[in-house]
């Protein structure tokens, strides 16, 4: 394989890498030039933020680079493999590369002018995006681990990036400690699997496992791998980092962790268990549990649904509430993987995608409200309706979509997920999880409605309107686009469902 061919196949990743370097250079160069000489970057001041034009230039470069990368993905050949599955080009991988890039684009817009050292922040964001691209397009354990680590390390930095806020540092530290422990587990699990099967390519592993069947050693390997991913998707009981990170991290980082990282993790988890571990599926049916990975995931899903929803009931900080609701949603989404097969995987991918867009939008609203009122507690949203009907309407769309009400995307997503889970297994064996998930949705409706009640009913402390486009337009564009997308995918789900089903092998 020539380098030219390699470059052709890895063009999107290369474009994002180049963009990240360019943004980094611009950021560092201009902050040196405009910053007061001798001021250390460790002591952030208003002066070191750089001028408005610089930040705008950084954001423009990053956004532009991402758009080019999307174009590069579109230009990729239909199918192709590099180095035995290190990088695989397939319609599914391309589709999710695009989705991850779009999420990164939205995050760049959200992050506009949020913090000092803006160029560095964007560069790290782009590095995380490269990690996601690798993660999405690989079908090989080593590469998957590299993607996980690259994403993880960038996200730890992004979480701790707000040096003025001790919560951000706390969140970063927690995320890092939990994350690196989980990575260690994953790596150990992967090495055990390699030991048992003698290969790192998913398809080859499936073949070996078909011959060997389930041994205790292999089960330990599978369990440890799943622990790592459970951490990534914030499934209970590996969710402890999520509420703190969602609450403490800079808003755009939280949005990216909740959206891009989650989509890619679900895709890879689905690939690993549905392709690689397919022979040792086991069964999570209530009347016929068989050991394998599916009882494990079923227990994770059940815990996530219960813990996420019940703990979210008592939250007073909206970001923390979203964190616990993310745990619950991870539980719902796992139902599709448990259902297995093309249908189940498609349902999972659909749900995690729309969930990602919903969360990017809601974090956008949180960011604006935080800027206006100085906090992100639920009470800070009081009277948002009077101050900005459009923002309130968008927030209503996001919350109701999360609760799973029509005509929003969340409703269709849940219908799709639960109906595939219901179908799977002999004699509706997953009914217990479906019933649990419906019960969880019922609980969740309560806390989403409480947020909406505060927004629409409680009078505001301040009444001056939040201008819509006066200043700082990019985050608002993100919010509007996300809201329109959630509404559109709720009314015309065919648009995404068809693409996912066609792309699935």
């Amino acid at each position: 394989m020539s380098y030219l061919e390699l470059l052709k196949f890895a063009a999107p990743d290369a474009v994002v890498t180049l963009t990240a370097l360019v943004v980094l250079v611009i950021g560092v160069a201009t902050s040196r030039a405009t910053g007061v000489a001798g001021v250390s970057a460790a002591i952030p001041q208003k002066g070191t933020v750089g001028t408005a034009t610089t930040t705008r230039f950084c954001a423009l470069a990053a956004a532009f680079g991402i758009l080019i990368a999307i174009g590069a993905v579109l230009l990729l050949p239909d199918r192709g493999t590099i180095a035995g599955g290190m990088l695989v080009i397939s319609p599914l991988n391309s589709l999710f590369q695009i989705i991850c890039l779009v999420l990164a684009f939205f995050t760049v817009l959200l992050a506009a002018r949020e913090m000092p050292n803006y160029g560095e922040y964007l560069a790290i964001l782009l590095f995380a995006t490269i990690g996601l691209l690798l993660l999405v397009s690989s079908e090989e354990l080593l590469m998957i681990f590299i993607g996980l680590e690259l994403t993880g390390l960038s996200l730890y930095l992004m979480t701790a990036f707000d040096k003025t806020d001790s919560r951000s540092a706390e969140a970063g530290l927690k995320y890092f400690l939990f994350g690196s422990t989980a990575s260690a587990f994953t790596l150990f699990g992967l090495s055990l699997i390699y030991g048992v099967s003698g290969t790192t390519s998913l398809a080859a592993i499936a073949q070996r496992l078909q011959e060997q069947g389930l041994s205790p050693l292999l089960f330990a390997g599978i369990a440890m791998t799943i622990v790592g991913f459970a951490f990534k998707i914030a499934a209970a009981p590996f969710h402890l980092w999520a509420p703190d990170t969602y609450q403490g991290a800079p808003v755009s980082s939280a949005a990216f962790i909740a959206s891009g990282s989650k989509v890619a993790s679900f895709l890879v988890l689905g690939k690993i268990v549905l392709i690689g571990f397919n022979p040792v599926h086991g069964s999570a049916d209530w009347h016929a549990m068989v050991i394998g990975w599916s009882p494990l995931l079923a227990v994770l899903a059940a815990f996530s649904i219960l813990i996420g929803n019940f703990v979210a009931l008592v939250q007073t900080n909206l970001r923390r509430l979203l964190g616990y609701s993310a745990v619950a949603h991870a539980g719902y989404t796992l139902l599709g993987i448990l259902a297995g097969g093309r249908e189940g995987f498609a349902a999972t991918l659909f749900y995690t995608t729309i969930y990602a867009f919903t969360l990017v939008g809601s974090f956008g609203v949180v960011a604006l409200v935080r800027r206006e009122t100085g906090g992100d507690g639920v009470k800070n949203f009081a009277g948002l309706y009077a101050r900005s009907p459009l923002l309130a309407g968008c927030m209503a769309i996001f919350m109701l979509s999360l609760a799973g009400l029509p005509p929003l995307a969340g409703f269709f997503g849940k219908f799709y997920l639960f109906s595939t889970a219901f179908r799977a297994g002999a004699n509706h064996g997953l009914l217990w999880l479906v019933a649990l998930a419906l019960f969880g949705s019922l609980i969740s409706l309560y806390y989403y409605l409480v947020v909406l009640k505060v927004i629409f009913q409680t009078p505001a402390a301040e009444t001056h309107p939040i201008p819509l486009f006066a200043r700082n337009a990019p985050p608002r564009i993100t919010i509007l686009l996300a809201a329109l997308l959630v509404l559109f995918l709720g009314i015309m789900p065919q648009f995404l469902v068809e693409r996912i089903i066609v792309a699935l092998p």
């Binding site: 009400l405 639960f418 219901f422 409605l449 065919q494």
Partner: protein, 513 residues
């Protein structure tokens, strides 16, 4: 053509978001009037095949999963679309005085109405479920923002009950979908589900719908919800939303799972009778006029469930007629209690109302309330009588004992209705007193209420003349007139509806021979 009721309603709702507030009520009025005209035109139109669930629109929606945008109509749907549009129009007329955020108010109101049209006309199970769930949140906002007594509690309770019912319906729906591989109601109506599936899927699905129809013991959302809701909200809840449950039970649960229905029909009948008698008995002890009407709704919906449980053509047709009838009567009762009385006197407490001599202060309201009460009690000549007698005759063949007990329940209905009527309108101080000593007692009570309560009553205490209340507006008269016209027309000539309902019912497959 009748599909346009859905589109017009949602278009009106969308329009409300963009136009200034002065236009809000007019847009709502025009939208609902247009839907009424359309449904009346469809009602008079002779070309429609009302005996079968005839498709009118069918467009692929999510072909990968077998979902279609598929609307159909038969006599049952048509009758319920008609009552929806009548109730919707009158509820807009009775909300003419909404000044707080009118755009939003009518927006949510039209969403409830449009969603209900959608449920009644859907021929695709998923589409039906979309519309069914669509109305949950508008109800919440209508009550939580514009409601009165204990509104947040009532709104949340109503919403969670609805959503819980929706979750049960969801399980039933995916059970049918996954087994038969289709979502088309007509196809599913032909499909043979295994007896084992039917035996558990039917109760889940039916209970899910029946929660919204106020089945005992899951009826408790109804009184609190009705009381907390603004006038138009109670009218929609009683007039339309409770019908969605009855309709869903009939169209989906019973028609899809006839064997399961056979198995469980006795339980349904028992719950229905308990509901009728229990709710009537509870209504007899209420102090709040809206609570009385709220429990009367539960009691009347019990008749619907009883008619469905008896499962012969006559009783089921009676149940559909009762849905129509109660839609109109319930809306009328809530309109009087919520708009005509409560908005003017700021009280619904029967003890306080009995001191106000409302029959002299609001003669028109008294007139309407008498009509509505008579219709609600089942006096011949009103739709309530026609519907309930049809149900009872039909049920007699299957469950004679239930008819006897329901007869006792009807006495209770008459009792609480007359009590509410007398306390609220026709009780002057002299009548209560009888002897001099008690008259004095009543007088002192008046002074107490005057010091603690509103200024309206203060004027009352000082003069013996009927208190001055804002006169009944034209909008209220139109709304009340429309509803009274509907109940009397059907009461005098029920054949008008029954002719369209009975053939449709006869084509369903669960009927007992």
């Amino acid at each position: 053509m009748i599909a346009w009721t859905i589109y017009i309603t949602f278009a009106g709702a969308a329009l409300l978001l963009f136009l200034p507030r002065h236009f809000a009520r007019w847009i709502a009025l025009m939208t609902t009037a247009a839907t009424l005209i359309i449904s009346l035109a469809a009602f008079c139109c002779r070309d429609l095949d009302l005996a079968h669930f005839t498709s009118i629109v069918r467009v692929p929606w999510v072909p990968n999963l077998g979902m279609n945008y598929h609307l159909a109509v038969d006599g049952i749907s048509l009758a319920l679309v008609l009552v929806t549009s009548i109730t919707a129009l009158s509820s807009v007329l009775f909300s003419w005085d909404v000044d707080e955020r009118p755009n939003e108010f009518f927006f949510w109101l039209l969403l409830v109405v449009g969603g209900s049209f959608g449920v009644f006309l859907s021929a695709d199970l998923f589409l039906l479920f979309v519309f069914y769930e669509l109305i949950i949140v508008p109800k919440y906002f209508l009550i939580a923002i514009w409601g009165s007594t204990n509104k947040e509690y009532g709104a949340m309770k109503l919403t969670l009950y609805s959503f819980f019912g929706g979750a049960l319906v969801f399980i039933g729906i995916i059970a049918a979908y996954v087994t038969a591989g289709s979502l088309d109601l007509n196809d599913l109506g032909q499909f043979y589900f295994s007896a084992q599936l039917q035996s558990w899927a039917f109760p889940v699905l039916f209970l899910g719908f029946a929660i919204l129809a106020g089945i005992w013991p899951f009826h408790t959302w109804a009184p609190t919800g009705h009381v907390a809701a603004p006038t138009a909200g109670s009218m929609l809840l009683a007039g339309i939303v409770m019908k969605l449950g009855g309709y869903g039970g009939l169209r989906v649960a019973m028609n899809l799972f006839p064997q399961g229905f056979q198995l469980w029909s006795r339980c349904m009948a028992i719950l229905a009778v308990i509901g009728i008698v229990y709710a009537a008995a509870v209504a007899l002890r209420q102090r709040d006029l809206k609570f009385v009407i709220g429990y009367s709704s539960v009691s009347h919906m019990g008749f619907v469930l009883l008619g469905l449980a008896a499962a012969n053509a006559l009783s089921v047709s009676g149940a559909v007629l009762q849905m129509f009838s109660h839609g109109v009567i319930g809306a009328l009762l809530f309109a009087v209690a919520g708009r005509m009385i409560y908005r003017r006197t700021h009280t619904r407490d029967l003890e306080q109302l009995s001191l106000l001599e409302l029959n002299r202060a609001l003669p028109f309201a008294a007139f309407v309330f008498v009509i509505a009460s008579a219709a609600s009690m089942g006096i011949p000549g009103f739709s309530g009588f026609a519907a309930e007698i049809t149900i009872l005759i039909g049920t007699w063949k299957t469950y004679p004992l239930a008819v006897w007990m329901t007869g006792a329940g009807m006495v209770l209905v008459a009792a609480f209705t007359l009590r509410a009527l007398k306390r609220s309108f026709f009780e002057s101080g002299q009548v209560v007193g009888g002897s001099g000593g008690q008259l004095l007692d009543v007088g002192s009570k008046r002074v107490v209420t005057a010091t603690t309560s509103t200024s309206v009553q203060a004027t009352l205490a000082s003069t013996e003349r009927p208190i001055e209340l804002e006169p009944i507006t034209v909008a209220e008269k139109c709304g009340a007139g429309l509803l009274m016209l509907a109940t009397i027309t059907i009461g005098v000539y029920p054949k008008l509806l029954l002719d369209r309902i009975i053939p449709a019912v006869e084509s369903m497959r669960f009927l007992k021979p």
